[in-house]
C-alpha cells in the first residue's frame, strides 16, 4: 500500500504506450477502451442498417441480393444487441463512473474486469470471422430449426454470443460486489446515485439470466455438430423449448439493455433541473422491480409460436405489470422537471429525448402484450418500431447523452455546446422520422424482415429511409464534435454542470489514478441541490 509518486497524476498520463493500456487494470482506462470498441461497432451496425434501409427505398431489388439482405439485417441485429446495447452502458459508462460515484479506488476485481474486456474483444473477433465465413442469416434470435442447418457463419456467431455473454456475467458480478462492499464512508444505500441503482439491477440480471443464454448457445452448437435432437423437430426435439431457453435470457436482456439508460436519464434530468429528484426511492426500487418482473414475462415473445394458451394467458397478464415500474419512472422524471430550473445543455437534450421516446416505446409494448392484438401485430414493423424506440430511442440516446455528460470528466475537455445541441436536434428528428412511420405501416400489417413489400407501403419506407440519413448525419456530427474537443487544451472545470454526485464534487477532472486523493466522506444525498443552491 505504498504511495507511488504517480498516484496523484491524472489517469491518462500515469503511463504511456499501447502496452500500458492493454495491460491496465484501471477501471477508467478499461471503460474508455470499451467506449471506443462499442462506438466502432455502433457505427458498423448502423452502416448495415443504412444499407438495407436504402435497399428498401423501392419494393424491388435495387443493389442487395436477397441473401445479402437477410445477412445484413442479421448482422445489424447481432452486432447491435450483443456488441453494442447489452455491454454498452455498463461496459463503457458503468465501468468508468461506478467506482467514482460510490467513492471506491477501483472495482472489486480489477483483473476480472480486464478479462471481461478481452472476452468482449474475442467475441467481437469471432463475429468478424462469422462475417468472413459466409452469410449469417438466422436473425439475432437464432431460432431453431433454421439456425440448425450447419451454416458456419451462424455457428461462429453462436460462439461469439457465448463469449460475449460470459463477458457480461463477469462485468455484472464485479459491479454487484463493488456496490456492496466498496462504498465510501457515508455512502449509504439511499445516498447512491440512481445510475448506481440501475447498474445494480442490471448486474443482477446479467449474473442470473446470462448463464441460461450460455447453455442455450452450447446446446445449439452441439445440436449443429451432433444433432442431438433437443431442439430439432425432425429428430423429435421441440423448437419451442429453444425459444423458452432463448427468451428466458433475452427478455431480461431487454431490461439489461434499458435499465442502465433509466439510470442515466435520472442523473441527467435531476442535474439539469437543479432539483432533488422526485420519488428517489420509488425510482430506485422500480429498477429492482423491473428486474424481478423481467424474469417472469419471457413467454410474451412466443404468443404465436405454438406455446400453450394457458402459458400465453399467464405471460400476457404478467407482462402488464412491467408497465407499473416503467410508468413510475416516467412520472417521477416529469415531476422532477416541474418547477425545476431547467438548463437545456446538450446532455439534458438527450435526457428529454429519452423521456419522449421511452413513453412511446413503453406504451407500444403494452399494446403488444394484449394477446388478441398481438396476433395481428406480431412480426410486423410495429414490433420493429417498438423495440427500436426502447433499444435505440431510449438506450442509445441515453448512452450518447451520458457520453456528453461524462465526457469532460473522461477527457478533461469541453465540447462545442452549439454543435452538440444541433446534433442532438438532428438525432431527435432523424430517429422519429425513421421509426414513427414504421408504427403506422406495422399497424396496417406490413410484415418485418421481408425483402419485398407491397407498393402501398412505399411511402412509409421512403420516409423511414430519409429519416435514417438525418439520424446518421446527426450522430456523426455529435461524434466529430466530441473528437474535435480532444484537439483543444484541457479546459474542463472540475464540476461544469454543478452536479452533486461524488465524481463531480470530489474527483479531479480527469481523475487521478486511484480516483480520489483521499477517500471521500459523503455527507449528503446525490441530488441535494436546494440546500446550498448549488
Amino acid at each position: 500500500m505504498t504511495a507511488h509518486v504517480h498516484d496523484n497524476i491524472n489517469y491518462l498520463k500515469t503511463s504511456k504506450g499501447l502496452k500500458s493500456w492493454l495491460t491496465t487494470v484501471d477501471h477508467k482506462r478499461i471503460g474508455l477502451m470499451y467506449l471506443a470498441s462499442i462506438l466502432v461497432f455502433f457505427i458498423t451496425g448502423g452502416l448495415y442498417a443504412l444499407l438495407f434501409r436504402l435497399e428498401l427505398w423501392t419494393p424491388n431489388k435495387d443493389f442487395l441480393s436477397v441473401d445479402q439482405y437477410n445477412n445484413f439485417f442479421t448482422m445489424h441485429g447481432v452486432i447491435m444487441v450483443f456488441l453494442v446495447v447489452v455491454p454498452g452502458i455498463p461496459g463503457a459508462l458503468g465501468n468508468f463512473v461506478l467506482p467514482l460515484q460510490i467513492g471506491a479506488k477501483d472495482l472489486a476485481f480489477p483483473k476480472l474486469n480486464l478479462t471481461s474486456l478481452y472476452l468482449y474483444w474475442l467475441g467481437a473477433i469471432l463475429a468478424v470471422i462469422s462475417l468472413l465465413a459466409g452469410h449469417a442469416d438466422s436473425g439475432w434470435t437464432f431460432y431453431a430449426p433454421y439456425s440448425l442447418s450447419k451454416n458456419p457463419a451462424v455457428m461462429w456467431m453462436l460462439t461469439a454470443a457465448f463469449l460475449l455473454g460470459f463477458s457480461s456475467i463477469l462485468t455484472g458480478l464485479n459491479f454487484i460486489v463493488t456496490i456492496h462492499k466498496m462504498r465510501a464512508p457515508g455512502m449509504t444505500w439511499f445516498r447512491m446515485p440512481l445510475f448506481i441503482w440501475a447498474l445494480y439491477a442490471t448486474a443482477i440480471m446479467q449474473v442470473f439470466a446470462t448463464p441460461v443464454l450460455g447453455i442455450t448457445l452450447i446446446l445449439m452448437l452441439v445440436e449443429n455438430f451432433f444433432h442431438i435432437g433437443i431442439f430439432d423437430p425432425a429428430l423429435g426435439g421441440d423448437p419451442i423449448l429453444m425459444q423458452h431457453f432463448f427468451w428466458f435470457y433475452s427478455h431480461p436482456a431487454v431490461y439489461i439493455i434499458v435499465v442502465p439508460a433509466f439510470g442515466i436519464a435520472s442523473e441527467l434530468i435531476a442535474t439539469f433541473s437543479k432539483k432533488e429528484i422526485f420519488g428517489y426511492k420509488f425510482i430506485a426500487f422500480s429498477s429492482v422491480a423491473i428486474t424481478v418482473i423481467g424474469f417472469l414475462v419471457w413467454g410474451h415473445h412466443m404468443f404465436v409460436a405454438g406455446q400453450s394458451e394457458v402459458a400465453d394467458t399467464i405471460f400476457s397478464f404478467l407482462t402488464f405489470f412491467t408497465a407499473i415500474p416503467s410508468a413510475i419512472k416516467v412520472f417521477n422524471w416529469t415531476t422532477t422537471l416541474y418547477k425545476g430550473s431547467i438548463e437545456l445543455r446538450t446532455p439534458m437534450l438527450y435526457g428529454l429525448q429519452v423521456l419522449f421516446n421511452f413513453t412511446i416505446g413503453g406504451l407500444t409494448g403494452i399494446i403488444l402484450a394484449i394477446l388478441s392484438v398481438d396476433i395481428h401485430l406480431h412480426d410486423t414493423y410495429f414490433v420493429v418500431s417498438h423495440f427500436h424506440y426502447v433499444a435505440m430511442g431510449t438506450t442509445m440516446i441515453a448512452f450518447i447523452g451520458g457520453i456528453h455528460y461524462w465526457w469532460p470528466k473522461m477527457t478533461g475537455r469541453m465540447y462545442n455546446e452549439v454543435v452538440g445541441k444541433f446534433a442532438s436536434l438532428l438525432v431527435f428528428v432523424g430517429f422519429n422520422t425513421v421509426f414513427f412511420p414504421q408504427l403506422i405501416m406495422g399497424s396496417q400489417g406490413s410484415p418485418r424482415r421481408y425483402y419485398h413489400y407491397l407498393p402501398d407501403f412505399q411511402i412509409f419506407h421512403q420516409i423511414s429511409t430519409i429519416g435514417i440519413i438525418i439520424l446518421a448525419v446527426g450522430l456523426f456530427t455529435a461524434l466529430i464534435n466530441l473528437l474535435m474537443s480532444l484537439r483543444r487544451a484541457p479546459d474542463a472545470p472540475q464540476n461544469p454542470w454543478g452536479a452533486r454526485t461524488l465524481e463531480w464534487e470530489f474527483a479531479e477532472t480527469p481523475p487521478v489514478l486511484f480516483n480520489f486523493k483521499e477517500t471521500p466522506v459523503v455527507t449528503h444525498g446525490p441530488y441535494e441541490f436546494a440546500k446550498e443552491g448549488a
Partner: protein, 139 residues
C-alpha cells in the same frame, strides 16, 4: 495494516463435524441407490403409484444431499452475511419459475382448444403411439 483489528475471515473448520457430514452424505447416497433398487414390481400394491413414490423419494434424497453440500461443504451455514445465502438461494427460485412456466406450456398445450395441438404438433405420430403403449402396462 489489519493488525489490531480482531476480524477473522470465514469460519474455523471443525474436522469432527466434517467427518459426520461426509458419513451422512455417503449414507444418503447409499439410501438413494437403495430406493432405486427397491423391488416395487413384486409388491402386490396397485392402488398406489409406487413409481411416483420412488421418484419422489429419490428427489427428496437428492435435495437433502444438496442442502448438506451447500450448507457444510460450501459453508453456507456459516455465512455471517445473510446476503450470500439470499443470492445463492434466489437462483433456485428463478429456476423453479423457469421450470413451472415451461411446464405450463408443454404440459397444457391444447388444454383450452384441443384443435390447437393438431395444428402445431411437434411430436411425431410414431411417438404418440409409443406413448399410448407406454401408458397401458407399467414397465
Amino acid at each position: 495494516m489489519e493488525h489490531g483489528h480482531d476480524y477473522q475471515p470465514g469460519h474455523t473448520y471443525n474436522f469432527q463435524i466434517l467427518g459426520r457430514v461426509y458419513a451422512g452424505l455417503l449414507v444418503l447416497a447409499a439410501l438413494m441407490i437403495g430406493f432405486f433398487l427397491m423391488p416395487i414390481e413384486r409388491l402386490p400394491i396397485d392402488w398406489l403409484d409406487l413409481h411416483l413414490i420412488k421418484r419422489l423419494l429419490i428427489l427428496a434424497d437428492a435435495i437433502t444431499m444438496v442442502g448438506i453440500i451447500a450448507g457444510f461443504l460450501m459453508g453456507l451455514k456459516y455465512e455471517k452475511t445473510k446476503l450470500n445465502a439470499v443470492i445463492f438461494l434466489s437462483n433456485f427460485a428463478f429456476l423453479t419459475i423457469f421450470l413451472l412456466f415451461v411446464m405450463a406450456d408443454i404440459g397444457m398445450r391444447g388444454a383450452m382448444d384441443p384443435s390447437f395441438t393438431k395444428q402445431l404438433n411437434w411430436k411425431s405420430p410414431v411417438t404418440e403411439e409409443n406413448n399410448k403403449m407406454q401408458e397401458a402396462p407399467a414397465p
